[in-house]
Amino acid sequence: MLTIVQTCTLLGIDGVLIRVEVNLSNGLPGFSIVGLADPSIKEAKERVRVCIQNSGFSFPAKKIVVNLAPAMIKKSGTHFDFSIAVGILIAAEQMEKASSCEEAFLGECSLNGDIRGIRGCLPMVLALKTAGIQRIFLSEDNWSECLMVRDIELIPVKNLSEFVAHYHDRRKPAPQFSIDKTEKIHYSVLGDFSDIQGQSEAIRAMQIAAAGRHNALLIGGPGVGKTMIAKRMPTIMPLLTAEEQIAAMKIHSVAGMPLESIIQGLPPVRMPHHTITKAALVGGGNRVMPGEISLAHHGILFLDELPEFDRHTLELLREPIEEHRIRIARSARSIEFPSDFILIAAMNPCPCGNYGSKYHTCTCSRRERKRYLDHISGPFRDRLDLFIEMEEQLYTYEPFKKTITSEELRASTLLARQCQLNRYHTESFNSNAELSGGELSKYCQLSHDSKRLLQQANRRLRISLRSIVRIQRIARTIADLDQEDQIKEAHLLEAIHYKQNSTRYWGDGE
């Protein structure tokens, strides 16, 4: 007897509908799964068998063949368990197949009969929805992450026996979980910019970065608060839009990362350690998984100790920074992950960390310093807009002056972001950081005096021509923060300041 049920598998972060064909025939009892299934699926045999038995059903003593179609796609993951179990139960006539609508099943079987949560549930639900599925049974562990998908019936399942009972008796309502939609966003968990002592220059730069999606490099000795600042970035960024939220959640779901803060709308912050491998950073691996840059999609990628990163690893970031996506090519197929993030990098001014300090002596030689700085290549630096030097703060007995709070900063970031959305609504991009070439001259018109100012900066402060383009973008964002249509000289002057450190450290003058 043949039964077909439906489930899904992942290719990158997108799901593909899979039909699970279960056939029971007379013959020597046996259980085999075909259809390019990897070991995690082969092991499903044991889980499914025990799960069915422990849920009060009998496992049919027949020859069972399961085919996962289309059979030419490589499949992996434990979420096939549920659909295989359901397929077997229907084929063995221990439950009836409802034919009223298209259904799919997602979940992993446990030996005691429970249906467990799986990785990547959200992208699968989205894919099934587009494939025309109307009702999805999934583990209650995954239920909350998928709630934002509309126009599809999601039924949480606790264990197999309950599921069968409800499936047969539709009058009983499915168990409901309540999620408080009006839950207040817990910014306090992330800290606040007013926790930071001093560093107003860096905070201002972070506000600019958040408003215009510019990449920034924080330079400062140990303990000046670089990490503190990066961690607080989400508190001054606009909340994710529903679209962004789904995009970010898809990636996090595939990687099996917690989703709570994204569900609240907070942009993700990723802080990979500098020993990270290339595959972990940009994505890859045997089963191609999204890397840190994709996990930071619509959020912040914070790279502490930037020069300590492997140089080749850093160079891999160049393409995603420009393209906002990463394509991972395999001989069979290539997979694309989105990676639109704000890069916040941090580094010491020299290997010992004391160069330029007021209080400590630097013990590095010129050569050591140069070698350290050379870890960051010119093309990479070129993708950074803001260079901020952070000064060491001394401990004082007095409570430090309360500085600007995240809430105040966020208010103006939001306005600036809105300016950009309005301005670029006809364009393919939506932030100042993406301005280049023709769009730059279109949206960053300068007065005669401003042009002269840039010329002076080019000559006197040895700011390279390339940097001048960057400066105009930053100035655009600063003007947006001021709610000005026209870029004023003050905006340019401020923008030059943030770009100047690059020249100071690396002597980028051309």
Binding site: G198, Q199, S200, E201, I203, R204, P349, Y355, G356, S357, K358, E389, E391, Q393, L453, Q456, A457, R460, L461, I478, E489, A490, H491, L492, L493, E494, I496, H497, Y498, Q500, R504
Partner: protein, 359 residues
Amino acid sequence: MKPFIAWLRAERCPYEDLRFLIQHKNSLEAILSAPEQWQLSDSLSKKTKQAIRDYRPKPFENQLDRQMRENKTRIVLWNEPGYPESLYEVDDPPPILYLRGKGEFPPLRAMAIVGSRHTTVYGKRATERFALALSSEFITIVSGFAEGVDTIAHRSALKHGETIAVLGCGIDWIYPKSNESLYHEISNRGTLVTEFPFGEKPWGYNFPFRNRLISGLSEAILFMEGTHKSGALSTVNHGLKQGKEIYALPGDIDRKSSEGPNQLIFDGAEPLLDPEQILAKGNRKSTVSEATTGKTAKLVSLSSLENLIYELVAAEPCSVQQLQDLSNQSIHDIVSVLTSLELKSLIHRQGNQFYRTRR
């Protein structure tokens, strides 16, 4: 009075106190006869009070007399006849000047010619030409008696006119030694002037300090040669603060020694093309400047915030954070003003985090 002030100057009392005492010279008798009462005055520093107590008129007067005779020196006090009007305008005017020489002092009209100690053939030729032409028109040439441009300026001026050498040491020191013959020529036909007491060595820090007198005595400053780090630029900066006319000698753009003057021209100084040009302009200027008071007229105009930040940086090298704490301005204003001042070449970033004034 003079020996008393000379004593206090030799004791390195603050100029402010000395000017205060000169102003109250009518009570000098009283001060000296009853120094105890004057100790109560809040206007004087501790150091000055101590020096007044230590003052023994007889032996010091004898010593000073001998020194003045030996060095043919005379003393001019602040707020007294013979003190140049224009020096009232400089920062912290010296309360006492030691003069030597038969030249006219204070000069009727004077212009400073300054530049680095290392000259090129071009710089030498131009310095000679301008010094000669101006001094022939009864303009006294003021300079700093150093090697190089200064020496050439003094020597050329002495050919047909007069010169004033502002020293960075006591008048009894001949520094640099190589200028010994010039020293004597100037005492014969020009004026040597210093604010430093007898016996003061030519300490390095004296020179930038005395530069304000070079510019103070002059109605215009001619900067001939020097790199962008040249010490003579400090004279130019004093001149700017005092509202003097600045001229700079244009030079080849790839010539190190012309970096300073070329930059000044770029910043708005008048290029030195012909002595006639200065004479014509100088005449016009002198009538104008009499009408307007000697208010500070900077070469570049600064906004009030720029001025505030500049003053803060000038007082002490500051980091951005310190500037914010001191000025209480918003960070984005400070940052843009800093860049603007940098563009105007008024400040630069020292080391990593600190801004300071140029030169």
